[in-house]
Amino acid sequence: MNISEERAQAWRADLRSSMKAKERTEIPRVHMPELDAEYRSHSRLEEVNLGLSAEQAMLEAKRCLDCANPTCMEGCPVGIDIPRFVKNIERGEFLEAAKALKETSALPAVCGRVCPQEKQCEERCMHLKMKKESVAIGHLERFAADYERESGSISVPTVAPANNIKIAAVGSGPAGLAFAGDMAKLGYEVVVFEALHEIGGVLKYGIPEFRLPNDIVDVEIQNLQSMGVHFVTNCVVGKTISIKDLEDDGFKGIFVASGAGLPRFMNIKGENLVGVMSSNEYLTRVNLMDAANPESDTPVFKGKKVAIIGGGNTAMDSVRTARRLGAERALIVYRRSEVEMPARLEEVKHAKEEGIEFWTLHNPIEYIGNEQGRVTHMLLQVMELGEPDASGRRSPIEIPGKTELIEIDEVVVSVGVSPNPLIPQSVEGLEVTKWGTVVVNNDTMQSAVPIIFAGGDIVRGGATVILAMGDGRRAAKAMDEWINKKS
């Protein structure tokens, strides 16, 4: 059934006429129940958002007008049939709602939590045109996915009979996982190679538990395993084994989803002082190595005055982690203004509630240390916004001579990541941009080397979970067609 046929179903029509559009828009947007801000700023692992109750979700779903032309779907990077899943929640068919989500999204419980909805589906919701708050699509997505998981009736997708064709995914982040799931469904023998000792990519080593509990990712991984997907951890493709080894080993297609794991620094004075580190190092220590747990052998600095440089999700995750590890002052230092911050709106809101200081229009120009080489101060350049540039963003410019010296004992640099060069460098014939991303056909995700497909951050640079996941699914479809055409 296509989308309009779905919409024309009797139950949907009845539901639509059961309440006037005006009444629907009069219902105020639901508030996500959350942990108390003071309490949670000391609780490292507890998830901040508690999730909607069934009543809350059903009421929120009533707000949706079930538009004939659902613009929200245009805002969704993978085109989820949003009104269908929302209306299923309204009528209490939560498992049906989850099913509708899963037709398009491989990881709805994850995306419901981490997608920047206010810039995607929710930005395009009809309600905004009527000067109302948009339907809380993200919260509803999370509700349906959580309901399915917690109900215990999570369905393992049916797997086609084995076709005995081996294919590989390199990297176990959202792109690799989504690809693996679709290929397993098609009957392929799927092996996922992961460099780290944990599966999940950024979902595990980057995004903290208070925003995305590990359990949720683990359930998805177990699902894949029960579908026959095989995971090989501690295996760096390009080092432990080469792409050529994989081909020689009989792999008929290779999906490279190795992410953008390389931290960027600003190359300013004092950046190599002790106590200055990348957000990747900070978050890897805390999330992957569990360094804040006394049982863990990995150490981590627990600064009392911690500055995080940057305004993205990684910066928000780092600063809120610092607060949870005991920072009395935790600062975001960002060179533009708050409007330009790339982080999800909700993370900025949560960070503020947790007492994070926002030093926008400030940019570090030097770190200063003591005799032991430990950072003690940072020198900030004060900025102002200039004229809009070609991209329409107002670029920050320095206010000459205006600086500020601030006492700190830890700095986390979170100014972006670059693609991991290992695979691009080790494969001959692969086309790579000057930013180090792999060039692929946008529809098929196939690279210049036919057997290699690629997607996620290795193709896009630092992007989003939903885009990575969408790439994985598209690559699976295209690789399947390509393999079938060949044989």
Binding site: H197, S242, N272, N280, E281, T284, P299, G373
Partner: protein, 277 residues
């Protein structure tokens, strides 16, 4: 999970392990290292691959007990499993026939030097190995080094064995005696700093294998960064070997000390836990 197939004591604190790792054994070259993690909550630590046996599918690690993580590894026996091991990582040593090469090592650096000495010898170099330690009991791997070195010079600070003096005295005596085409040095950062100063004076090209703090070992975190010729480099992917004369050893020394207090605390806790068992 990688199985330990044999364990041998070189001294009370220096232990050789043979570990099952067929893929790593096949892919590794001299200069490569692995990241090793013992236990679910273990730390990832870098260890050089000292040797490999393709037939048996094993690699050799030589580990010196330092703090918690190396001690946990050293407490394992043949038949036990290492929880996680990944590699080979880093850039392999550039090996060719340079002529005469002096390999200057001390402390933790002696084990990682072994495969380099062997590879240099195989490529036809005249290899002179200088091993240094504070005192006789701390000299390790002398016999193993003799197998692939044309000459082994032992230096002890207190003169209890070999020649009295520092590693630099040993290196300088060779430079004064004959033409040296290359020096390779591995050891505590402070030692490499002085070796580098010495060979710079004599204009002998020198490679230092840097043992910075690492977390992932794959280029993901930047914990291992050092300044080389004024540029920031990641030891785990750009190294571990660099032109010693360009390395900012003072910065490296400063960064190595970064976690010393926490490490000491963890080690105390670990020892307490052991003694209360």
């Amino acid at each position: 999970m990688n199985k330990i197939v044999s364990k041998e004591y070189f001294s009370a604190n220096v232990i050789k392990f043979e570990v099952e790792a067929p893929l790593i054994a096949k892919a590794r070259k001299a200069g490569h290292f692995v990241m090793v993690k013992v236990g679910l909550k273990g730390e990832r630590i870098p260890l050089t691959i000292a040797d490999a046996d393709l037939q048996k599918g094993t690699i050799t690690l030589v580990v010196q007990k330092m703090g918690v993580s190396s001690s946990k590894l050293c407490a394992l026996e043949a038949g036990d499993f290492i929880t996680d091991m990944v590699g080979p990582l880093g850039k392999a040593t550039h090996i060719e026939n340079f002529g005469t090469v002096v390999c200057a090592c001390g402390g933790v650096g002696t084990a990682p030097m072994m495969p380099i000495v062997a590879a240099l010898k195989k490529a036809g170099n005249r290899v002179i190995t200088v091993i240094a330690a504070r005192t006789k009991d701390l000299i390790i791997l002398e016999e193993q080094m003799r197998i692939n070195s044309d000459e082994v010079i032992v230096m002890t600070d207190d003169g209890s064995y070999g020649n009295k003096g520092l590693v630099t005295n040993g290196v300088e005596s060779v430079i004064n005696r004959e033409k040296v085409d290359l020096c390779v040095t591995i050891g505590p950062a402070i030692m490499m700093k002085f070796v580098s100063q010495l060979t710079k004076k004599y204009e002998v090209p020198t490679l230092a294998s840097l043992n910075t703090i690492m977390v992932d070992g794959t280029g993901m975190c930047g914990a291992c960064r050092v300044s080389v010729g004024g540029k920031t480099k990641f030891v785990c992917v750009d190294g571990p070997e660099f032109d010693a004369h360009l390395v900012d050893f003072d910065e490296m020394l400063m960064r190595l000390g970064g976690y010393r207090d926490i490490e000491r605390e963890e080690n105390e806790l670990y020892k307490e836990a052991l003694s209360s068992k």
